[in-house]
Symmetry: C2
Subunit: 529 residues, 2 copies
């Protein structure tokens, strides 16, 4: 297998359509980039949540959940399948019994205390660095779907061409702050070298922060080295600057598997970001009650976060909440449900109790990009945003409970994320915006459009969505009665047509290509299949 | 014109499928009614919001908005087109100049102080009484759409058959607490007698609280008398028990029209409920800034609320927030936008400042029951619920910025409202729900489905939607790839098939029919057209 020259490792091209550089200047939020590009959209910018997070349980109830989680860790304990992990726990004074580790609350608390409350995650393009924690909110593209679909081509297995196109799309979408893994699994690339080719695509087709899958030490090491090359920094700098992140899922209930722990063992010592995420589906891998599922989520999260700090005190770590419920009729996972929303709110309360950033998601269980996809996603975002999430994974493109990435859903979600971004912008309250003089000028029965106050502001006054169709019925019908998914399909094409590959210095590009070629020639990593 | 015998004024039938009687018993939330009925849904029940409302502006900023609104009322003033209204204002010491009334802040504050913070609104079926204010949340069906659609029949002008079918549907949907006006305008009933026929349908096809349109004194009087007959109470009781509500829109900017003021003059003295709702579309009838539009909303709301208290101190009144923005490209109103959400949050802050219940809405601008309809509606609900709305109007069925009622959207929205209801249910945190013993019993690597803890709870553990399709892709595809709107279409038919007319005592039914027949024979009310 060779690197496909079409996959985007060419030298620098014109600077892409993505504006970088932190918060947007006020009053100039919407602009078309120079040169060929897709539809108009607000620029890439970092977001702050100024509203207080919503609490779904009282402080007393929260304390009950925390104490119950600590009882679970002490009395039942949790399996750590990696021998090195157990050694470390034993040395720290935990009680070991086979794979089982029982953790006293004091030990957990003391370790969790070391975790930083916020940090910066560096992209190869410094304009796309993101801040994680505090009142920051950042959005990832969808990750890890085995299937992919678009409106015209239908549903198909994940493959490299779609993988790369979805990377281009998420690079072009300014709402996507960082890549949340492979948007779809490129299953036509052999597993032994997939991480090399895929990470090469991630680092060349996009210039946003990337994610690595923890599937064994060598893969973690390879991906981190590729990020180092793409950033053109030395190891010492990399160790100071978190530049890649990995999601570590607990194998709920109460187990951390070998490759997941290997991810922590590789990345935490090097100050790379670990997102601990228990996969606690109430009624299946967790108790059927929301409170019980949260107890288990918190026990698993505490154990995982504590372990990162045992490996390397001060290592950046995120508390991931992913508790949802199963459909008790079919056993399928459900998302964007009322139970999901409540768990997302309490997840934020629990993460803040730990003093670490909070991760949530934009998820749905819909099979079609229809009303269900729309309402389940916004319910998820409601839980995430009001819950105080700092990192919203699967922000754009997720369908079918994560089994499928969709081009159309990615575009629609990007619009939803931009709406959330605008919602998070503070309301400006000053003399000019209060507009008492303008109200006097217009007076009873008048109209505002002609006023100078309106003329000065109307172009940028309101969020202008890409997808939403606000024409009157007659014009809409005349245009063929397009639904949101067909608008999104057209927009996806326009965005891909307007996509420009982000520049990379020739040295970096060459070094990266060389590294991949060498590691591919070496056979990548051993696989069992 | 005679009363159509098919329109539902027959004698009592079997008791309908709607369970009444306040909050549902815990753990038995989902049940099928006896006899023929539609799809399973949670029972009718009242809701409480225990979460703190979200504040989108600081207390200082809120004060700036309030002070600016008071400056508008004092300096610019507001037009009251009804001579009686101006007389009352003059007598209260306001400054008059033609139609213009200028209001000192002290006068406004003193009047608003008399408005009650909460009250009960009585239905003809006492099991469907609703509480308005405090931490209560109630949902109305859609009101006032000129057009109607369903998936098979397309879009058509409002007519009596659809009007009555939508009443049946909203009666059958337990998520709908009360009727929010005519779901669609029955334009084939002459305007002179429309209120008589339509209110007769409202009172016989449904047994939930009804709304009257303020379109002149006689209509208000007729509707109130019909409600009195349906409830079979005397005038003195009616005057003690709010039993009908009317929405009073300001003709923004800064004007209250004659029929609207007549509504207050008729209903406030009789302690019927007035929902003051400025129609402040930023960029058209209000300043282009969110803060400015809120200043105008608050000025108009204060003037309207104060007027109800001038007419009758202590009269029940609601603060309606309806601020949204227009699409600056087309001039069309947009709904469910980020600006709408922010305005909905601040609207709640302003209403609480007045000490009166808060009204918001579930609105969208979509032309199709597609992803846009889903996401705009949930964004609206996000603003309403997190803003602390007590009364959510247009809760089920609204499309196209209010121009159209949709059967499918009504069913989908009912599901959204039930999801919100479940979201509002407190998380139970006690030993049984924390499930520490069950977590110990299952242990690492186990599964929860077989446990007694799950078996005891799984049937009612999670909200089970009517519409959402959670099957795996293969089963879904095999079933013909139905989208949410086609599910809703089927469900609407099932709900209508299962509809049972709520019982009415024969005396009441006869008296009501007699009243309508007499008033119709008298020619109803004079119209200009």
């Amino acid at each position: 297998m060779t690197i496909d020259p079409a996959s985007g490792d060419a030298g620098p091209t014109a600077v892409g359509p993505v504006e970088g550089g932190g918060r947007a200047p006020r009053g100039r939020r919407r602009q078309r980039a120079e040169g060929p590009s897709g539809p108009a959209q607000p620029p890439w910018r970092l977001l702050q949540r100024r509203m207080e997070p919503v609490r779904a349980v009282s402080e007393d109830q929260l304390e009950s959940i925390v104490q119950a989680a600590k009882r679970v860790l002490l009395e039942t304990g949790i399996d750590f399948l990696h021998p090195k992990a157990r050694e470390l726990w034993a040395a720290a004074g935990a009680d070991l019994d086979g794979n089982r580790v029982r953790l006293p609350a004091e030990l957990v608390d003391e370790l969790v205390e070391h975790a930083p409350s916020e940090f910066t995650l560096h992209a190869r393009n410094p304009a796309h660095d993101v801040h994680i924690g505090g009142d920051s909110v950042v959005f990832c593209g969808v990750g890890s779907a085995p299937y992919v679909s678009d409106l015209s081509g239908g549903r198909r297995e994940g493959n490299r061409a779609d993988f790369e196109n979805l990377l281009r799309l998420s690079q072009a979408l300014n709402a996507v702050h960082l890549q949340g893994g492979y948007p779809v699994e490129p299953t036509d690339v052999h597993a032994s070298v997939r991480h090399l080719h895929a990470t090469h695509s991630l680092l060349t087709l996009t210039d946003k922060v990337v994610h690595a899958y923890s599937l064994g030490a060598q893969r973690n090491i390879d991906c981190l080295e590729m990020v180092r090359i793409a950033r053109q920094v030395d190891d010492a700098t990399l160790d100071q600057e978190p530049s890649i992140f990995t999601v570590i899922n607990a194998s709920s209930p109460l187990r951390y598997d070998d490759p997941m722990l290997e991810g922590i063992l590789q990345y935490s010592p090097r100050n790379q970001v670990v997102v601990i995420t228990p996969f606690t589906l109430a009624g299946a891998m967790a108790p059927v009650t929301v409170a019980g599922a949260l107890v288990q989520q918190h026990a698993e999260a505490l154990a995982g976060i504590a372990f990162t700090q045992l490996v390397h005190p001060g290592a950046p770590v995120v508390y991931g909440g992913f508790t949802s419920n199963v459909d008790m009729k079919s056993g399928s996972p459900a998302f964007g449900t009322p139970e999901y929303m409540k768990a997302a709110l309490v997840g934020g309360q629990l993460a803040r109790r730990c003093g670490v950033p909070y991760r949530s998601s934009n998820v749905c269980a819909a099979n079609a990009v229809d009303a269900q996809a729309g309402y389940e996603s916004v319910f998820s975002l409601w839980g995430a945003i009001m819950g105080g999430a700092n990192l919203v994974m699967h922000g754009a493109g997720w369908m079918e409970g994560g089994l499928r990435a969709s081009y159309e859903k990615m575009v629609i979600d990007a619009d939803l994320l931009q709406m959330v971004a605008t919602f998070l912008d503070p309301i400006i309250v000053d003399d000019a915006s209060l507009a008492v003089e303008t109200i006097a000028e217009v007076g009873p029965g008048g109209h505002y459009f002609g006023t100078q106050h309106t003329q000065d502001r109307f172009r940028d006054a309101f969020f202008a969505p890409m997808v939403s169709d606000w024409r009157n019925f007659e014009s809409w019908e005349e245009a063929g009665s397009p639904s949101a998914d067909s608008h999104a399909s057209r927009l996806a094409r326009e965005l891909l047509d307007g996509y420009q590959q982000p520049a990379m210095a020739p040295d970096a590009a060459a070094e990266l290509e060389e590294f991949v070629a060498r590691r591919v020639a070496e056979g990548g990593v051993k696989t069992d299949f």
